[in-house]
């Protein structure tokens, strides 16, 4: 399905499989070290930091289905958005304020939606599948837009009440709690995704991506596996959405529809598809650049990301990490 070449074996990419060493390498601790260092070193940027962490989780969920299983979607925002609104409605309308309960509810709602929509759409392929993923997120956008009494409509849903985490850590004005809370959730999500990718299930996903016909021929339940990974991915996306609501105490329409899906795709492609840490690098670079550029130069910003997308597709299909890989490989073998 996907034709982006997965990274070569032995590179920094995490392709999973039966001969891949699943142990965590020292480089893999770098993002966490950096994240903790940023907490102490850049206290003014913690809300941007939390946003980056949340989108890393969101991108990670997309990498699972796109990079590993090869499912192309324009509608991953449906799960993000549903998670965001579930947390928001619980906190603003229903008086359910415990953040972990909100998170669990958002995860469950997005997961169920993932099973249901996955079961429906994953029997189709190509343009039809794209169209269906897009239509599903647009359905939710319409609902969020029109059901104003519950969702706040175009004004968004403000006043989402979120109680202290574990009853101990209040969400403060400086975003310290939000940052650490997001970091902790991301860490758990990362660990699960990583386990999954190195598992036999993960290997069978790459098999499906590479050649679904042959997977059928070796007796694999291809459809069931795809629905399963779609649901897992949806659950993670829903959690990311809920985090966004909780850290902003607000949820608006911009979590649903084509644009957040497209932006997410761009972030992941920019970082590198099907290698876990592309989902880290992409949102990091994208959101920092956006923070600096998008407000001052909105036209150039949009043009720039469009251009980068085109260039990545034409010349650098592994994204930033793919370029790093190639550079490192050249350094190691200067003669080659």
């Amino acid at each position: 399905m996907s034709a982006l070449p997965p990274a070569a074996a032995g590179s920094a990419a995490h392709t999973g499989g039966y001969v891949a060493d699943p142990r965590i390498r020292w480089q893999e601790w770098l993002p966490w070290v950096l994240a903790v260092a940023a907490f102490f070193g850049a206290p003014d940027y913690l809300s941007l930091g939390a946003r980056i962490l949340i989108f890393i989780l969101f991108a990670l969920s997309l990498d699972l289905i796109l990079g590993y299983a090869g499912i192309i979607t324009l509608g991953h925002s449906a799960f993000f958005g549903v998670g965001a609104y579930v947390a928001g409605i619980l906190g603003a309308k229903l008086g359910v304020t415990d953040p972990l309960v909100q998170l669990a509810a958002a995860a469950a709602a997005a997961g169920v939606l993932g099973v249901v929509t996955g079961a429906i759409i994953l029997r189709t392929t190509g343009l039809t599948l794209l169209m269906l993923t897009l239509a599903i997120t647009l359905v939710f956008l319409e609902i969020a837009n029109k059901a104003t009494s519950i969702t706040g409509g175009a004004d968004g849903l403000a006043g989402v009440v979120v109680a202290p985490v574990l009853g101990l850590f209040r969400f403060d004005l400086y975003g310290k709690t939000a940052y650490l809370y997001s970091l902790a959730v991301l860490f758990v999500g990362w660990w699960l995704v990583r386990r999954l990718i190195y598992s036999p299930f993960g290997a069978s996903l790459t098999g499906i991506r590479e050649n679904a016909v042959r997977m059928h021929a070796v007796g694999a339940p291809v459809y069931a596996r795809m629905v399963a990974v779609y649901a897992i991915s949806a659950t993670l996306a829903g959690i990311a959405g809920a985090l966004l609501t909780q850290t902003h105490q607000f949820v608006g329409l911009n979590v649903l529809g084509l644009e957040p899906s497209g932006e997410l795709l761009i972030m992941l492609i920019l970082g590198g598809v099907g290698r876990i840490y592309g989902a880290f690098v992409g949102p990091f670079v994208y959101l920092i650049a956006q923070d600096y550029l998008a407000k001052q130069f909105p036209e150039y910003w949009y043009f720039g990301i469009g251009l980068i997308l085109v260039l990545v597709v034409l010349f650098a299909r592994g994204g930033i990490l793919g370029i790093v890989d190639a550079a490192l490989a050249r350094l190691r073998r200067p003669s080659a």
Binding site: Y18, R195, P200, T206, E210, N211, R214, A217, V218
Partner: protein, 249 residues
């Protein structure tokens, strides 16, 4: 002796076009059996009927004495019906060993595991390595399939099918596209396959067919023309007619 694979009055037609005409075919356990016939004789159609890729218009297919006619392809695989494809259908970007391990893991029912790392599936990996060794691919286990020469890719194709431990193995032109210098490797591998697997081979390379097969079935226009030992088939006038007819027509 009971046949391990049998078709009874198998028919398939697309409108007026009859592509399988009352095919009665029996494959003995442990057989080395070849299916030959001119282009368009219905060899691949028969294979697709047996594996369940297409449904017969009428007739029955039995595997180990049990009817499998209505089963889906994956269910037939589970019951021991393996096949290779005429055109390589491999996991090209994955290492050779993963190509085989994916199949073995499915057969063992461990392929859905989400938590324990795949590389800790010792039994799967050791079986895959052993299998690759018997096919002379041990040194290529970690190479990407796409980087292998074509002849070796054909062997990976066979390795995946063997990874499913089939009772019956259908080989669709295993030597197709392989340079003649390398095709002897394919024959060696075929000769070395476990004797308890019944093998049905479709092949255009008559040298390979006559050296490998103990029985040969000749198809012509969707129907069985004749069946016999290689010597009988080689001497059969009707078979020669069919092939001559093709050469002239």
């Amino acid at each position: 002796m009971n046949a391990i694979l049998e078709t009874r009055a198998l028919c398939k037609s697309f409108g007026a076009l009859v592509v399988a005409d009352n095919v009665e075919f029996r494959l003995a356990p442990g057989a080395r059996h070849a299916l030959i016939g001119p282009n368009g004789a219905g060899k691949t159609t028969l294979l697709n009927l047996i594996t369940g890729r297409i449904e017969p218009t009428s007739g029955e297919i039995l595997l180990g004495g049990e009817p499998i006619t209505g089963l889906r392809p994956a269910a037939r695989v589970k019951r021991g019906l393996g096949r290779t494809f005429q055109i390589n259908t491999l996991f090209r970007q994955l290492p050779v060993i993963d190509n085989v391990a994916l199949a073995i893991a499915e057969r063992d029912g461990v392929a859905g595991g989400m938590f324990r790392p795949a590389s800790r599936q010792r039994a799967v990996i050791e079986e895959a390595l052993a299998l690759l060794a018997t096919l002379g691919l041990a040194d290529d286990a970690r190479a990407r399939v796409a980087d292998l020469p074509y002849g070796k890719q054909r062997l990976v194709e066979i390795a995946i099918a063997l990874g499913l431990k089939p009772k019956v193995l259908l080989l669709d032109e295993p030597a197709a596209g392989v340079p003649s210098l390398e095709s002897h490797r394919i024959l060696e591998v075929l000769d070395g396959l476990p004797r308890d697997i019944a093998i049905l081979i479709i092949e255009h390379d008559m040298d390979l067919v006559f050296r490998f097969a103990q029985r040969i079935t000749v198809l012509s226009q969707g129907a069985v023309l004749t069946e016999g030992t290689p010597a009988e088939i080689g001497a059969n006038e009707a078979v020669r007619q069919v092939y001559l007819g093709e050469r002239h027509g």
